[in-house]
């Protein structure tokens, strides 16, 4: 009995020792990537980061005041998108990256807004710089930085958020209204905070611009039947269907929309429609859906000369086109970090923070600069001024960029049964 107890204790000790970090592996700059790797918004970022790191390392690495050091990536699964796992697990993952894997900088997540906001305190405590590149659409993140700069100055975000997205969608909808003379809208959102907020914001902005918003329906996660809402929209003559859904059941919504041949144009933020395999999977029933991909470059487009270079490199390495909405931003974050380190000529956190605030890089989706007070990337409709969004429409089974006008490849198409 005592021997077995002793053996168990010994085994535990051995386990712990072998998880301790190896001494002396300091030369590469370690990028910690806390991501929900089993989900689209995790693996899209992971692939973007790894592609960038590979390109930078094969070009020689980062020039830190004279010495060339490579990047190395440590990805940790935060599990924060898993339905049954509490956020404390994600935070444990972030701490593991900081304490055990000795990450110098963090790029990527955590992906869920709750987890990311909770992680801000952790990052502040350990004084680690982080560039958030995927998930987290809430404006609250950068609001916290503005409110308490000295505590949260370590947190940057180079992906867009709901506030900006609403404005861009609003502009697109204005164009559609003028071109096709539509004026009745119906809103269907998922019952999560950011989707509801998006829906309410859209309701206000549409009403202000002269649209009649027939109704807004909020569906809890897991709803598998949208017939009541869709038929209501059809009966009342809705011409625009604004959707904001993360859940897989949005595919059911779109299929029902096609089957019912509703005379409205579906538009919004639909997680299910961000993958290139969407068209084939839906057997064409997702055609004409307009999806906001948050940042440009997550689908083939010609925003800057780098965009297609990135898309081709990504397709070559991973076998499919960029998907999700964290791919281009994660890729660029690594380059932004590289530029900041080279300007600061060191990896000291405070100096890199200042360098990152001053950075000005022409990237995959436009000019990439951070706002000095909120550490949010500066958006714009013009790639020469700021970061451009990627709003696409599924046309003929492909994602075609239709907005902003200056960088679009195609025009908004209405479904044929709407004429």
């Amino acid at each position: 009995m005592r021997t077995s107890l002793a053996l168990v204790a010994l085994g535990l000790c051995l386990c712990i020792t072998f998880s301790l970090p190896a001494v002396g592996a300091e030369k590469p700059i370690v990028i910690g990537a806390p991501l929900a790797t089993a989900f689209l918004y995790g693996w899209d970022a992971e692939r973007g980061i790894k592609l960038a790191v590979e390109e930078i390392n094969s070009a020689g690495g980062v020039n830190v005041g004279g010495t060339k050091r490579p990047f190395s990536v440590e990805v940790i699964d935060t599990r924060d998108l898993e339905p049954s796992v509490p956020i404390s697990d994600a935070l444990l993952g972030v701490e593991k990256l900081i304490l055990e894997k000795k990450a110098d900088f963090m790029i990527g997540g955590p992906v869920r807004s709750e987890a990311a906001i909770a992680a801000m305190d952790l990052l502040s405590k350990y004084k680690k710089l982080s560039i958030l590149t995927t998930g987290v659409l809430t404006p609250a993140y950068t609001q916290k930085v503005t409110e308490n700069y000295s505590k949260y100055k370590y947190c940057f975000r180079n992906t867009s958020h709901v506030g900006v997205m609403m404005g861009e969608l609003g502009a697109l909808i204005e164009d559609v209204r003028k071109t096709h003379s539509l004026n009745k809208a119906y809103i269907m959102v998922q019952d999560v905070a950011h989707a509801r907020a998006g829906g309410e914001a859209m309701q206000k902005s549409l009403s202000a611009k002269g649209w009649t918003v027939i109704d807004m329906k909020v569906y809890p996660t897991g709803t598998s039947d949208y017939s009541v809402g869709l038929m209501d929209a059809g009966k009342k003559g809705a011409q625009l269907l604004f959707i904001w859904m993360d859940m897989p059941e949005s595919a059911i919504l779109l299929k029902q929309w096609t089957d019912l041949k509703l005379k409205c144009l579906p538009l919004g933020f639909v997680n299910a429609a961000e993958q290139p395999g969407f068209a084939k999977a839906m057997e064409g029933k997702g055609e004409y859906l307009i999806v906001d991909l948050v940042n440009g470059g997550n689908a083939p487009a010609k925003i800057t000369p780098w965009t297609m270079k990135f898309v081709d490199a990504y397709t070559k390495k991973w076998g499919l086109e960029p998907e999700g909405y964290g791919t281009s931003s994660s890729y660029m974050a690594v380059y932004q970090l590289k530029a900041a380190i080279e300007t600061a000529k060191s990896v000291d956190t405070d100096r890199v923070i200042t360098a990152l605030e001053d950075s000005d890089l022409m990237g995959v989706y436009g000019r990439m600069r951070f706002d000095k007070k909120s550490h949010q990337i500066i958006p714009s409709m013009d790639p020469k001024e700021g970061a451009v969004t990627g709003i696409i429409q599924w046309q003929n089974g492909k994602r075609v960029q239709i907005f902003p006008q200056g960088v679009s490849e195609g025009k908004v198409m209405l479904p044929p049964w709407m004429k």
């Binding site: 712990i16 049954s84 509490p86 404390s88 304490l99 807004s113 909770a118 019952d191 809890p220």
Partner: protein
Amino acid sequence: MEMARKERIDRGLKVRTEGIYAISSLEEIAYLVGPRLLLIVGLLLLPVILDLAPYWKRVVNIMCVYGLLALAFDFLANYVGLVCLGGALFIGVGGYLSAIFNVYLSIPFYLSIPLATVAGAFLCTIIIMPCLPLRGVYFAIVTLLYPILFSRIIEALNIFGGTNGISSVESFPSQYLEQYTIIIVMLLALFGMRRLVNQDVGLVLRGVKDNDQSIRASGINLTYMKSMAVFIAALMGCFAGAYIAHLYMWAGLSLFALDFSIIPIAAVVMGGGGTLVGAVVGCLILVPLSEILRAFGTFRIVIYCVALTGFIVFKSEGLMVYLQRKYHQFERWAKV
């Protein structure tokens, strides 16, 4: 032909430690006190040893939280006969109450945690009380669904911060306070429960599991006894929830996560149901294992579940029961 059978009898040392003879010599004292001392001292020293690997200190905190939940489950399932599959309910209620007291009512943490524990326990008991007359399976199903129901209600009504949760909850002022609070509370709970089940009250509760009609026939109110058991278990669970809220400075929907229900059950099954120590030992194994297996992504859940099924089917007595048997008894061949 000589036939022999295997016989299990108590060790001499065990027999000598019964009753007053337990203090007759150092050997007997060491036999009884040894394992307990190992557990207590080991756990108390853990934060100090793990200064070398600070990340693992966090794991110890989480482990003790799960330990409290596992104790609650073990107590309810194996001593009172109520299989409560919804440990997440306690954590969620305790966590949210503590966050509400701390953030909305500005009560400092050393008051909000005890308040949340007691208030949460009352709330949970009242919620579970209507389901107490149900048969085992139904009670299990309902308690499994309660956390899901509550999280959906909070989500639908968008109260208490909705899907964003309540943040900026006060944290512990010192790291040592943070760690030793939970370890000491867990040890107190463990030894307290062991004491409790041997007291009069505990015996009545165990009677509820064995034969509740006889308890009723003795003129004791069955529902009152069961509510008391749920209250005690809820005290432990809500404390764990309140602690987590302050540990991570945040309370949200994922406090009702399924993991908080499942891992304690797995820990009890593996550690040995019916011996409260088994619950703690099970957590000692499972939680660090979960961290070590993080590299495997969701495959780690497959590993747990397969291991859990294996334990349930083949070795349903669990680790501690097995170890205790080896400690107290020995086997030998005896002539038939």
